[in-house]
């Protein structure tokens, strides 16, 4: 502990803290733009500068440790003037068209410039534009980039993919796809973590909401929407609802107001995924000799892309079960079209996902099996949903709570936890136990696979057979896990991987909160939904049982194989 004085306040702080941390903990605000705790502490934007007594030059607070006796000032004329100039310098190279920016109102630079009261820029504007494929799910706008380097760091340090790098030197230094590649060929997993960690609007997901609005206003189309588990934990974060108000039922009402004919739940096909993937695992465990282990989950398309680019020789170890999104599309355009007695071509299938990679997945030609074009026509992010709700003028405060439509709107507690890291594993184990023993385990039997953005292992005894499992989220952790498997240092039967730290709750399509990670709190909401759901086991989902009974037969049946399984090796990137 050391004694420091910040703006006249005498403080005793841990010597390992930075000036910025000490100040913020004492309720003293210091603006930051490039800073991302633990990930990007490079002091590049020079906005967090403070005065330290005894020094003439200003000191970046984000990466300077406190020292005994330090006297710090965070808001003097000298500092304000320097902050203003540095902000103006940033603005001189920034495309300040806030009116047409996805981050307007949620932009760090915009807030700082406003807070500092900058009304004019003293410098000549010099905006650089670089061509970008606007059809790609991930879009970078050079004219908005502030070169904070966060995208480089998150992709390199957390995700271990290194899509981004610094290019050029001197005044032309900027960020671009690493290794002189084009983004399409850069092995990008499309996790979207660079987007959610960009302080401005330089990185965004492709916006597909217009396509959905067009479909909604097309009387020829029957619009069907599915909502991923993790979306319900975050959908209203930018809409001003309290946690109590932001229920999944109110979300269902909002979707209905948007004009969707049927509001369904991806939880339904999450349960279906468990039936297929769980059965696949059990079949494999029965015949261990003839299979390569571990079996990897395949519901995360960011992870599938990662596997395809980084470990192509292991793609065969992915479960052939489609993701819940794609199972939903396949079922909606076959089984549900039959129920409605309509031509499947008339159904327009939209998914709301916490994800950028889902935009890729639904566009993979090889994944479509219902025979009516794309099984899922459009995949929107949680952020796009929130924008559509606002665009449609829906006052969410006034909305009642409404039920999902049936039968594809029924999901169990096992399904809703798909949205948190470890959830797929836990759900699969709950049902695998039942499928092997014929009786349910306690619903809380497998909670040891829960956790955060890390890599963890757990062994479970199922009827005398030890099932070795592991869970990892974040591609950096995934790589470590795979390397351990490949070198023989680790051996598992079943592994769940989610590309985003914390799983879909922390997905790249989720609402953005500067400097805060929300995956843990969103995950807690999902676990609460599980605990409160009278149905805790996927194999007890009555709608899923009905689907098997009246349409698919049994898990892994020929029809199930045709509609619900895929060969990821054939997927084009």
């Amino acid at each position: 502990m050391v004694n420091v004085t910040i703006d006249g306040k005498q403080l005793r702080v841990d010597a390992s803290k930075t000036i910025l941390q000490a100040a913020r903990e004492a309720g003293i605000a210091i603006p930051t733009l490039c800073y991302l705790e633990g990930i990007n502490e490079i002091g590049a934007c020079r906005l967090c500068i403070v005065e330290v007594e005894g020094m003439n030059r200003l000191v970046p607070s984000c990466n300077t440790k406190v020292e005994e006796g330090m006297v710090i000032r965070t808001n003097t004329e000298k500092i304000r003037a320097a902050r203003k100039i540095n902000t103006e310098l940033l603005l001189s190279q920034h495309q300040c068209q806030c009116t047409t920016c996805t981050r307007s109102g949620n932009c760090v630079l915009q807030k700082i410039a406003n807070d500092l009261g900058i009304l004019e820029i003293s410098y000549a504007k010099k905006i650089k534009h670089v061509e970008w494929n606007q059809e790609f799910p991930l879009i970078r706008d050079e004219s908005r980039c502030v070169k904070c380097m966060r995208c480089i760091q998150i992709c390199n340090k957390v995700q271990g993919v290194s899509v981004w790098d610094i290019v050029n030197t001197g005044g032309r230094t900027t960020v671009a796809v690493s290794g002189n590649r084009k983004i399409e060929a850069a092995d990008c997993a499309l996790c979207g973590q660079c987007i959610t960690h960009c302080p401005v609007g330089a990185l965004r997901a492709r916006d597909d909401s217009d396509k959905v609005f067009d479909a909604l206003s097309n009387p020829e189309k029957i619009t069907v929407v599915q909502v991923a588990p993790a979306v319900r934990a975050a959908w209203a974060e930018s809409l001003g609802l309290t946690d109590e108000q932001a229920t999944e039922k109110r979300m269902a009402a909002a979707l209905r107001r948007l004009g969707f004919d049927y509001v369904f739940d991806t939880n339904f096909t999450a349960d279906l995924t468990i039936m297929e993937e769980g059965s696949e695992l059990i079949e494999m465990l029965k015949d261990k000799e003839h299979h390569r282990f571990p079996l990897f989950t395949s519901c995360c398309p960011g992870w599938v892309r990662f596997m395809k680019t980084q470990y192509p020789d292991m793609v065969g170890q992915l479960s052939t079960a489609k993701s819940p999104q794609q199972m939903f599309g396949a079922v909606a355009k076959s089984y549900y079209a039959d129920i409605l007695g309509v031509d499947a071509e008339k159904i327009y299938c939209v998914s709301i996902m916490p994800c950028v990679a889902k935009k890729y997945e639904c566009a993979v030609e090889e994944v479509n099996d219902a025979g009516a074009g794309a099984d899922v026509d459009v995949s929107l992010t949680t952020r796009e949903l929130a924008r559509m709700i606002v665009a449609a003028g829906i006052d969410v405060q006034q909305l009642p709570e409404e039920e999902f439509d049936q039968p594809l709107g029924t999901g169990t507690g096992a399904a809703v936890i798909f949205g948190a890291t470890g959830g797929v594993m836990e759900a699969a184990l709950r049902s695998a136990y039942y499928l092997v023993t014929g009786e349910n385990p306690p619903a809380e039997a497998f909670t040891s696979v829960r956790g955060g953005a890390d890599w963890r292992e757990a062994d479970f005894d199922v009827n005398g057979i030890t099932v070795k499992t592991a869970v990892a989220s974040g591609l950096g952790n995934a790589r470590k896990l795979i390397e351990a498997v490949r070198s023989g240092k680790a051996q598992y039967d079943f592994v769940e991987i989610m590309a985003c730290p914390g799983g879909c709750a922390g997905g790249g399509g989720q609402p953005i909160h500067e400097g805060c990670e929300y995956y843990a709190s969103r995950g807690q909401k999902l676990y609460a939904l599980d605990a409160n759901n009278p149905l805790r086991f996927s194999h007890e989902n009555p709608a899923v049982l009905e689907l098997y009974k009246s349409y698919l037969g049994a898990p892994l049946s020929e029809k199930a194989h045709h509609l619900l399984h895929t060969d990821q090796k054939t997927w084009k990137l």
């Binding site: 330290v52 990466n63 300077t64 290019v167 050029n168 030197t169 671009a176 002189n180």
Partner: protein, 611 residues
């Protein structure tokens, strides 16, 4: 009214002169890996600012040339721009009236040729081929990538033992390097932008002089792999140290009966006391490295036998034979090679030069070592004959100055012509041919050409030839190791010999005679790649954490240099001539460090990493 006035410098001119001085310092610490096109443009703009404005090609042309290059950098150029740049530069070169214009154009022309790929990358891809390499200047210019800001910070904190341990992470010869390293780290020190480079070597010296002995880190569990290192010089012993720490068993085959290679047998003890060299070697040996002394590979044991007995072999035989002058009577009595003379001193069997006149031929550090050793061996007069100018010598300026202070006479611009012998075939004089400075050669120095002047006959008893060393490569060539036509072993910059599985090579025997630190770097590279070749990827932990930078304004402050014993005293013995920094000097010098590991690009790319 006076007709003539004394010229007094104007204030503005003084300011410009000062600016040029600052510019010179700044250029000295140019970061590595900057965009060559951008750098060339900056140069061009400076040239343009020097134009008097009289002539069209310089006044207008240089500006247009700059605009074209700016177009290239800003992505506004096409592939037609490149020939236009060349045409314009060519024309300026041909037509400008004075050097301000035509020299600028010549350099641009040369640059376009040399960095053509960079120009094209900018035009076609809108990006540079270059990238900020080595964000920490000293580390990036240290061949062994020693954590220099790290140990300098530790010295500043008084943690000398930790400082030495941190150096050992990348260089197991901290003591030897503290005395004799050529310190390329200091060349581009960013502190040059403020005042002057940090005296890094002196701080290392201070650290090794004040550190407590500390055991090497514990080795990784034994891998059961056996590795042979041929040659116990800096490169071989470095590889041996790291490989041993990685858990392999290393056996060093040393031809002579002591370790150290050229550090022991090439560097006089007044620059590096023998017992201090032993500090490093004993530390290395403490890890369990085995040594077989007096073994000649090729005669006592063959390469094939070594390859059969060991899982990998590292060839680091150095460069230990002398280069010949190829002049008349070179084999006369009294003519000897620098290698031979220094080895005899190293073996405590020095030649007797009492009252003799000695001519040393050469201008490198070895020539200075030989000359200064001759003084110490009692020579009455020592000449250093060099065919180029003194300022073109490859020896460190301090070494040249030291030799002169000790009474050596430097004869610049004299090429060896022949040795004059008496009836007993003993040397009695050296004939030197006067040279004059000619055109600039590839090394950027004027090439010496024979001057129209008579030979200089320099009476002498001894001639020592110090014009370089060769490699005893023949037995290895015979064993199938690829060798170049210059007699060096052909290994990649990863020390791998592609043609021969499991054999690696590095140090002087690959590069030709170079510096200690480059040999150490090769040993380190070899250790990592041999480890990988054996299927491992060991990471070594030396357990030293580097303190945060001291929070101070780094205002201009002079560099402290080390002092030496006075010349007339030190030249009488082989005792160490350099004094280390005082406590106050070391502290101040260490705090001058700008901590580029933390400030600037070091905080982002590169930084401090495991190798």
């Amino acid at each position: 009214m006076s007709i003539l006035k004394l010229e007094t410098p104007q204030k503005s001119q003084q300011a410009v002169d000062a600016l040029y001085q600052v510019l010179e310092n700044r250029l000295a610490s140019n970061p590595a890996g900057m965009c060559p096109v951008d750098t060339c443009l900056a140069f061009l703009r400076l040239c343009h600012s020097q134009s008097c404005g009289k002539c069209v090609p310089c006044r207008v042309g240089l500006g247009q040339l700059a605009q074209l290059m700016d177009d290239v950098l800003e992505g506004n150029a096409s592939m037609e721009t490149l020939p236009l740049i060349e045409k314009t530069a060519e024309s300026i070169y041909l037509t400008a009236d004075c050097a301000i214009g035509y020299e600028a154009a010549r350099i641009v022309l040369k640059s376009v040729k040399e960095f053509r790929d960079d120009f094209i990358a900018h035009i076609k891809e809108g990006r540079c081929l270059g990238n900020m390499r080595g964000p920490i200047p000293c580390v990036s210019f240290c061949p062994a990538k020693v954590d220099i800001p790290g140990y300098v910070a530790l010295v500043a904190e008084g943690r000398y033992t930790d400082a030495v341990q941190l150096i050992r992470k990348d260089n197991p010869f901290p003591t030897a390097c503290a005395f004799v390293c050529e310190h390329p780290c200091e060349n581009n020190c960013r502190r040059n932008m403020v005042d002057d480079a940090i005296n890094i070597r002196a701080l290392k010296r201070y650290a090794v002089d004040h550190a407590e002995p500390k055991a090497a880190p514990e080795a990784a569990p034994s891998t059961g792999k056996q590795i042979a290192v041929i040659g116990g010089g800096p490169s071989g012993m470095t590889a041996a140290y790291y490989l041993q720490l990685m858990g392999h068993q290393v056996t060093v085959y040393e031809r002579l009966n002591q370790l150290g290679g050229m550090i022991r047998y090439g560097i006089p003890s007044y620059r590096l006391p023998r017992e201090r060299l032993d500090d490093d070697l004993n530390h290395i040996l403490s890890t369990g490295v085995q040594v077989k002394y007096g073994v000649n590979v090729g005669t006592d044991i063959t390469m094939d036998e070594l390859r059969q007995q060991y899982d990998a072999v590292y060839l680091s035989i150095g460069a230990h034979t002398d280069k010949k002058l190829r002049i008349e009577n070179e084999n006369a009595d009294g003519v000897m090679s620098a290698v031979e003379m220094l080895r005899r001193i190293g073996e405590n069997n020095p030649p007797d030069f009492k009252g003799k006149k000695v001519v040393v031929v050469g201008g490198g550090n070895v020539a200075m070592d030989v000359a200064r050793s001759s003084v110490r061996l009692g020579a009455e007069k020592v000449y250093i004959a060099y065919r180029r100018r003194k300022k073109d010598m490859t020896a460190l300026p301090d070494e040249v100055e030291g030799a002169i202070a000790e009474g050596c006479e430097v004869l610049e611009m004299y090429a060896p012509d022949s040795v004059k012998v008496n009836e007993n075939n003993h040397c009695v004089a050296m004939n030197l041919r006067p040279q004059m400075a000619g055109a600039i050669d590839r090394s950027g120095r004027p090439s010496p050409v024979d001057a129209p002047a008579p030979l200089l006959e320099l009476e002498c008893d001894i001639v020592v030839v110090a014009i370089g060393q060769n490699i005893q490569y023949q037995v290895f060539a015979d064993a199938g190791i690829p060798c170049s036509k210059w007699g060096t072993i052909e290994a990649g910059d990863d020390t791998v010999i592609q043609e021969v599985d499991g054999v690696f090579s590095g140090g002087d025997c690959v590069t030709g005679p170079a510096t200690v630190i480059r040999s150490i770097a090769a040993g380190k590279v070899a250790a990592v790649n041999i480890d990988a070749y054996l299927g491992f990827q060991h990471e070594l932990d030396f357990g030293v954490t580097v303190p945060e930078p001291e929070l101070i304004d780094r205002t201009p402050c002079g560099r402290c240099n080390t002092k030496e014993r006075e010349a007339c005293e030190r030249k009488l013995d082989f005792e160490m001539i350099e004094f280390g920094l005082s406590d106050a000097e070391a502290k101040q010098e260490a705090l001058r460090c700008l901590r580029c590991d933390k400030y600037g690009p070091g905080s982002f790319k590169g930084g401090r990493g495991q190798w």
